[in-house]
């Protein structure tokens, strides 16, 4: 409705105005997700731990993948990737799923993908506990550089938000995207070194390794492992790659969402 004002300013004003709604929707999602389950929110901690047991068993005994501290290697990678996967697949159907609301009250549309990203973020914080638990169980002392992890969380958050904006808009017009996305996510996961060591990338066919090198998630996962496991401070170049890819995703996502949002109501 406001024209001629900086869109970022309008965006921030709306975020502020609807902050209670964001909070309420996030809490609602948490409540509904774990309603009637005995352990409730504990599942957000347990799930990655159980997954880790399965993956560790399969990949270190059957596929004989040789990585030092494999459980932690896997957990740190999957923490970042699962956050992205959960945020974007939530955002994908967020506007469609809230169509009863959108048809009756005016709410800025970006609230819904933003809320799903926040919800996935809260979930990730719980899963972070799983990482801490494994640190203790395996007597692994993380390096001090782990204090920089909020930075990488912000990068992934912005990147996921951008992709989420894009998907939430595009899925309104083409429902096929919803069915394609889980396949895409699986491919995306294998294009990110989560269960195999980074050293394996060089031995892959040139096509595959170049795809991996253009995959932003590769850099995010690497960034988090470097600061949490190996005590390596990411270079300026690493940071730039992360920032530029995140901002690019956000820019494209917001433009698509902004351009499409007035037509949503006719399609949902």
């Amino acid at each position: 409705m406001c024209k001629g004002v900086l869109p970022v300013k309008v965006f921030m004003k709306n975020v502020f105005k609807y902050r209670y709604l964001l909070e309420d929707l996030t809490i609602r999602d948490l409540k509904v997700k774990y309603r009637r389950s005995l352990l409730g929110i504990l599942w957000s901690v347990l799930n990655p731990l159980l997954m880790m047991l399965v993956i560790t068993a399969v990949f270190s005994s059957i596929f004989k993948i040789d990585v030092e501290n494999f459980p932690i290697y896997y957990l740190t990678g999957s923490l970042i990737f699962n956050f992205f996967a959960e945020a974007t697949s939530g955002a994908l159907v967020s506007i469609l799923g809230n169509s009863p609301l959108i048809k009756k009250v005016y709410i800025p549309k970006f609230i819904f993908p933003l809320e799903k990203t926040l919800f996935a973020f809260v979930n990730m914080l719980f899963s972070l506990l799983a990482v801490v638990i494994m640190f203790i169980v395996l007597r692994f002392v993380p390096s001090w550089t782990i204090v920089f992890s909020p930075i990488i969380f912000i990068y992934v958050f912005v990147f996921s938000l951008g992709v989420g904006f894009f998907l939430s808009a595009i899925s309104i017009f083409f429902r096929d995207v919803i069915h394609l996305y889980s396949v895409f996510l699986t491919a995306f996961m294998y294009m990110t070194p989560i269960i195999y060591p980074e050293s394996m990338i060089e031995r892959m066919p040139a096509v595959v390794s170049s795809v991996i090198h253009y995959n932003p998630m590769y850099y995010y996962v690497q960034y988090f492992r470097n600061i949490s496991m190996y005590g390596i401070l990411p270079s300026v170049r690493d940071n730039l790659i992360c920032i530029v890819s995140a901002l690019l995703a956000l820019l494209v996502g917001s433009l698509v969402l902004k351009k499409a949002q007035d037509k949503f109501i006719l399609y949902i």
């Binding site: 209670y20 909070e23 309420d24 409540k31 009250v105 017009f173 429902r175």
Partner: protein, 242 residues
């Protein structure tokens, strides 16, 4: 007097064939056959009106005459194809029952959720919570999931939340028809209170009695066009005689 709502030359078109396209395949086929932009359905045609602040404005007309579409445009849910609309102040829309309710949650949780959907702050909701519950008369069912509510019970909660703060503009679409007659009376009383406090009310109803009782001015829509607009008695009389 200042105007709360100004609608000028609003057209609303729906593209009927576009509706049915849900997949890329269909889209390409339609594009290829040049069927994309056809079957224009005109829901509103050249509607202009001004509603002054503090007015209670009724909209009548047969089913499909564009009443709800107009309300949705006023609330900002739909963007008009042509024309412009200016709205002064905060709108509390009561367009359909239970807008913004999550039926899995309890009434207590939903009251807060609905409050934030309407843009009220957490503190306002806490302060007014008891008042909302009291007005809705639903105290004993507060912690029951709303999927177990009847539609009348949902309407009570919805109306109570939407009118708890003094909105600048209240939009009521048919929902008063749901509650029992005692609650309807209570709602009308509340609307009258809001009016004297300066709230502008826009009502859509099929109950001519209700429109005659509550409104000052009235508009009669027919096939998306204004058939008649003006003082309520005149419009209601000719509507009834048509």
């Amino acid at each position: 007097m200042e105007n709360a709502i100004e609608i000028s030359n609003v057209d609303m078109h729906f593209n009927m064939s576009k509706y049915k396209i849900d997949s890329i395949k269909e889209f390409l086929i339609k594009l290829f056959k040049h069927e994309l932009m056809y079957e224009d359905f005109i829901a509103l045609k050249d509607v202009s009106l001004e509603i002054p602040k503090g007015d209670v404005f009724g909209i009548i007309g047969l089913n499909g005459s564009g009443k709800s579409t107009l309300l949705k445009i006023v609330s900002g849910i739909l963007k008009p194809t042509k024309g412009s609309i200016k709205v002064e102040g905060v709108i509390a829309p009561l367009i359909e029952l239970g807008a913004g309710f999550d039926m899995e949650l309890t009434a207590r949780e939903n009251i807060f959720l609905n409050g934030s959907v309407l843009g009220f702050s957490r503190q306002t909701m806490k302060d007014r919570f008891d008042e909302i519950v009291e007005f809705s008369e639903m105290k004993e069912f507060l912690d029951v999931p709303m999927k177990n509510y009847s539609s009348g019970m949902i309407a009570r909660i919805a109306f109570s939340v939407a009118t708890i703060t003094r909105p600048d503009i209240l939009i009521v679409d048919e929902i008063l028809a749901v509650g029992d007659f005692r609650f309807q009376e209570k709602c009308e009383l509340r609307i009258n209170q809001l009016m004297s406090g300066g709230t502008t009310v826009v009502i859509v109803s099929h109950s001519i009695d209700q429109i005659e009782r509550l409104c000052k001015h009235c508009m009669w829509l027919e096939h998306g066009k204004i058939k008649m607009i003006g003082e309520k008695q005149k419009v209601c009389d000719s509507y009834k005689n048509s």
